[in-house]
Symmetry: C2
Subunit: 336 residues, 2 copies
């Protein structure tokens, strides 16, 4: 399961309806915070994301993306956190991030290592089967977007076929699924007899604040979800250019070029705070189904082969149906 | 009119129900912000205080009292403020306050002079007829409380008597009211023939975070309102001592000793966030009518001789009734 919870969807300054930028990105047991505008800790309480963060990803150092960092860390210290909490930022961000982390007195309850991530650089989470990669964006200051990319998953495991071949259930299933050949009753069985082709991992991309950029297209290529800056409507295209933001239609064109499956717009200018329909309408002309995020909005990303939400679907509606296929990377591994 | 709007009433960290410390103190046209915890700017929007601040008063540098400063100032800059906005803090606070003001890049849209106020020091607002005085509190760090003290007001002006004496309405009324003698039809009229005795100005006192302290008793002497730290109930008296806070009953005893007319408790521990009745109950045993603040609560302070709220009252229910007394300092001046 990948779940995005939008904590703040306003541009530059909060409104009564929208707080400034932050969202949580949860994948299985890992919880990431992406940006941390002022008031983010309270939004986390309000929307129930929990505080068990694995790390914090900062796109750039504008106040509306980082000013909540100090307070959040102080609250985690009051909660008796002792585990390190890594903070990642764009090139050149270390000094300011460290100033914010230790503002008003050195934070000593737990380590908060700061790491700058160059565009193309990766935060490796190999044990969990994904990376988070930074990509260059265009915001007039040092700024990156982030894309979470799952590693490819092993192909589906054909339990029926394995039984036919007389493979006993247990560790041998796991070895085959991991790509090893095994020997059963004197016969060598190769993984491709039982296991389908590897299935590509999912990816979700976050542009942060940016002008439309080919690097975003590249990073979001085939993404299940692209979350993109859409501060303005087309009538303010000049202002979007001057302030290094995107219009809703520009964001939508990026999503189309990337072939993203879903587009959510965020970083909404105060003038659309209460009614974001104009943004949604402009984007939907280019990318049907584009939606504008609101504070508290949750987006869950299933596997592409999962039935659509609310429709458990007959077994034969799924790809590779008719076999008792085990999706061992999604559920428990057969040898666990 | 003096109006206090509580913007954040939580201790240390926010909860869903309560944000961290801040309140606005409005007297006639002057709006002051007292403390500025993270998220204060959004609370100001939510509760409609406006942003036309005359100054910001900081009691001490704990994060829950100051971390909203940077974001608030950035938003004022986006609002195109150019007027200086003075920030006052306790002794030794300049460096940290300036770090917060200019965090992430020098704030240049408007000047933000920082002034340390020694206990006993005053911010003089002579033209508006009041001062704000800092007083020493006991919080384990450099910390002050603040008391707004109106200057004494001129006595009531007896319009009937003035007419009897043949004084024409107009500038002469004002001169008498300001304490000058005048001449009418060859007769010298002294102010005390028309104007009652000077009436003491009102005062409202804010303890900030503190243990019970005689300096608070002195500062809040006869105050219309005391707003006091009441982080804990009596069962956590030890914790209150260790963390340099007050219990509800301790706060109530301070109010009794000061002879304050009204007591509002704030800085509520998370455990009482959703239900502050235990705090209110403990305080009310000592100081009947004590109330616990909540976010968005507004307290308006009338003049002592004003009829109680919701009761316009017959004229003879007021002190000095029976005369057409003009309260020229409260309403328009007769010569304006």
């Amino acid at each position: 399961m990948i779940r995005i919870t939008f904590l703040g969807t306003a541009a530059a300054r909060p409104t009564v309806a929208r707080n400034v930028s932050a969202l949580t990105l949860q994948r299985e047991g890992d919880l990431w915070l992406l940006d941390c505008g002022e008031g983010t800790q309270r939004q986390m309480m309000r929307y129930g994301t929990g505080f068990a963060l694995r790390g914090i990803l900062i796109t750039h150092l504008h106040g509306d993306h980082v000013l909540g960092l100090t307070g959040l860390l102080r609250t985690l210290a009051l909660q008796a956190r002792t585990e390190p909490l890594p903070v990642y930022g764009p090139p050149g961000s270390t000094a300011v991030l460290e100033a914010m982390i230790h503002l008003g007195g050195r934070l000593s309850a737990f380590p908060v290592p700061v790491t700058e991530v160059e565009p193309g650089g990766r935060i490796r989470c190999d044990a969990e089967g994904y990376d988070i990669e930074a990509f260059q964006v265009r915001h007039g200051v040092s700024a990156v977007g982030y894309v979470l990319r799952e590693h490819d998953r092993p192909g589906r495991f054909d339990v029926d076929r394995a039984r036919e071949l007389g493979i006993p259930e247990g560790p041998l299933f796991g070895r085959l699924h991991r790509g090893e050949s095994i020997e059963v009753n004197g016969r060598t069985i190769h993984p491709d007899e039982i296991v389908g082709p590897a299935r590509p991992g999912r990816s979700v991309a976050f542009s942060g604040d940016t002008r439309p950029s080919p690097s975003t297209v590249a990073a979001a290529q085939g993404a299940e979800l692209l979350v993109h800056d859409a501060t303005f409507c087309a009538e303010e295209a000049d202002r979007a250019r001057q302030t290094f933001h995107a219009t809703a239609a520009e964001a939508a064109r990026i999503a189309v070029q990337a072939g993203a499956r879903r587009l959510v717009l965020t970083h909404v200018s105060a003038r659309y705070s209460a009614n974001a329909t104009p943004l949604e309408r402009e984007a939907s002309v280019v990318f049907p189904g584009a939606t504008v995020a609101h504070d508290g909005m949750v987006v869950e990303i299933g596997y592409p082969e999962d039935p659509p939400e609310g429709d458990p679907g007959p077994a034969d509606a799924r790809p590779e149906a008719g076999s008792e296929a085990l999706d061992t990377s999604h559920h428990a591994s057969p040898d666990s």
